[in-house]
């Protein structure tokens, strides 16, 4: 073998692959070709980027800033600049974008542009729907705009189904149909398990869990939706007008016994509220023995506050001779139970959104003054 032979058998070197660069095409552009360039670069339908850009424009104006930034950062097709100049331009563009974002944040946060809150939820729902469909079907969100739109539509369908099942199950359990709701849940589980044995049923998992878990939450919280909904206020003017029990499904229930002139001795009182706030107001000379439960929420028993899940209160102070004692048996599924007393000058004005999360009746600093002194707290 000669040197010439050796030279002849050398394999030809593969040509280096041209570096893939993002550019703005000149032949397929609506404004400056940014979305078209992104579509070509990521091999995705540019319509998706156009839709996202329009949505982001209304979502606080970020789309506009990002589009301008992209025009600065992405060169036109055929106008690729030398590396050093490109780096310098890129650094300047990034600084510009940061300044624009800071400026836009201060402008848009002061209420100049309010359309974003309309589009934000739609964008959020679309993303959640895509995720749900991915979870349910196992299909990754990819492909052209039509396929992604179909995935979003199917995901929204699954979300609506799950929401309806959750709401229906919770309502059935809360309206006194606990047994029926439990049977429906067991049936749903059996169908799911049966479908699994038949080799399918993956898509049934989410709807079945959406039904079962709210039913269980309503049962655990003892939420009772009997008694209607809304704000109800009871102010009996005499002891005879005081009922044995007060019920409300959802809302605010105020039982104001300050004018009831209760006679000495024990007076049982039952309060049942599904969701919301129950308030018991008593005069200074009435003692309250409290045996209550809140599924999820807080019990404000005069100046004692206890919150969380499965909140129980068991306070049985004796009343001095001559004083009335309310023996309270309250159950609130989800919300707040407040017990206290205000004189007329201290009643809080009803401001639904004016108080930070704890209702309008703040009993901090009050004590159960109608009880014997040693239990005054």
């Amino acid at each position: 073998m000669t040197d010439d032979d050796t030279t002849q058998i050398q394999e030809p070197q593969p040509e280096p692959k041209p570096q893939r660069r993002m550019t703005r095409p000149r032949d397929d552009r609506v404004i400056a070709g940014v979305c078209s360039g992104l579509g070509r670069y990521f091999n995705v339908d540019p319509v998706l980027f156009r839709v996202a850009a329009v949505a982001l424009i209304f979502f606080g104006g970020a789309g506009l800033i990002l589009y301008v930034a992209a025009v600065l950062l992405i060169p036109n097709e055929g106008e690729e600049r030398p590396e050093t100049r490109r780096n310098r331009d890129r650094a300047l563009a990034i600084v510009g974008v940061i300044l624009l974002v800071v400026a836009a944040g201060s402008i848009f946060s002061h209420g100049v542009f309010h359309v974003g809150w309309l589009f934000g939820p739609f964008l959020f729902i679309a993303l959640v729907a895509l995720g749900v469909w991915w979870l349910v079907s196992g299909e990754r969100p990819q492909g052209d705009a039509g396929r992604i739109a179909r995935s979003i539509a199917r995901g929204i369908g699954v979300l609506i189904l799950c929401f309806a099942l959750a709401l229906g199950g919770a309502w059935l359990a809360g309206a006194g149909g606990g047994t029926a709701a439990a049977i429906v849940v067991i049936a749903a589980g059996a169908i799911l398990a049966g479908a699994a044995l038949e080799g399918y049923g993956r898509w049934l998992i989410l709807p079945a869990l959406s039904l079962a878990l709210p039913v269980a939450v309503v049962s655990a919280a003892n939420i009772d939706l009997h008694g209607g909904a809304g704000d109800k206020s009871y102010v009996p003017a005499s002891a005879a007008q005081v009922r044995d029990s007060y019920h409300l499904g959802a809302g605010r229930l105020v039982v104001d016994l300050r004018d009831a002139k209760l006679p000495p001795g024990d007076r049982p009182l039952k309060i049942r509220l599904g969701v919301g706030e129950a308030i018991l107001l008593v005069p200074d000379n009435v003692c309250v023995a409290n045996k209550s439960k809140v599924g999820v929420g807080v019990i404000d028993n005069f100046n004692h506050s206890n919150g969380g899940v499965d909140v129980d209160a068991a306070d049985q102070p004796p009343a001095p001779p001559g004083n009335a004692r309310i023996v309270l048996d309250a159950n609130v599924g989800l919300g707040r139970l407040g017990i206290g007393h205000y004189d007329d000058g201290r009643v809080f004005v009803h401001k639904p959104f004016g108080h930070a999360g704890r209702g309008d009746y703040n009993f901090a600093g009050q004590s159960n003054t109608g009880c014997e002194a040693t239990h005054g707290g």
């Binding site: 589980g189 998992i205 079945a208 655990a220 899940v309």
Partner: protein
């Protein structure tokens, strides 16, 4: 006829849902008192077991 292939994740979820339903039924019949202290770990266990079964099935 194509053979049926058992799906583990829906089976685990289905059994978990049945368990939840049975507990709700017992609570409705006042046999037990269902509380969040019991429900929270149960819900976590059902969801966790379902996700685990789903993940194991895919990786398998």
């Amino acid at each position: 006829m194509a053979g049926r292939r058992l799906q583990i994740a829906p089976l685990v979820a289905g059994l978990g849902v049945i368990l939840v339903g049975v507990l709700v039924l017992l609570d409705a019949q006042d046999v037990i008192s269902l509380s969040f202290a019991a429900l929270a770990p149960l819900a976590c266990a059902v969801l966790g077991a379902t996700l685990l079964a789903s993940g194991l099935t895919r990786s398998g």
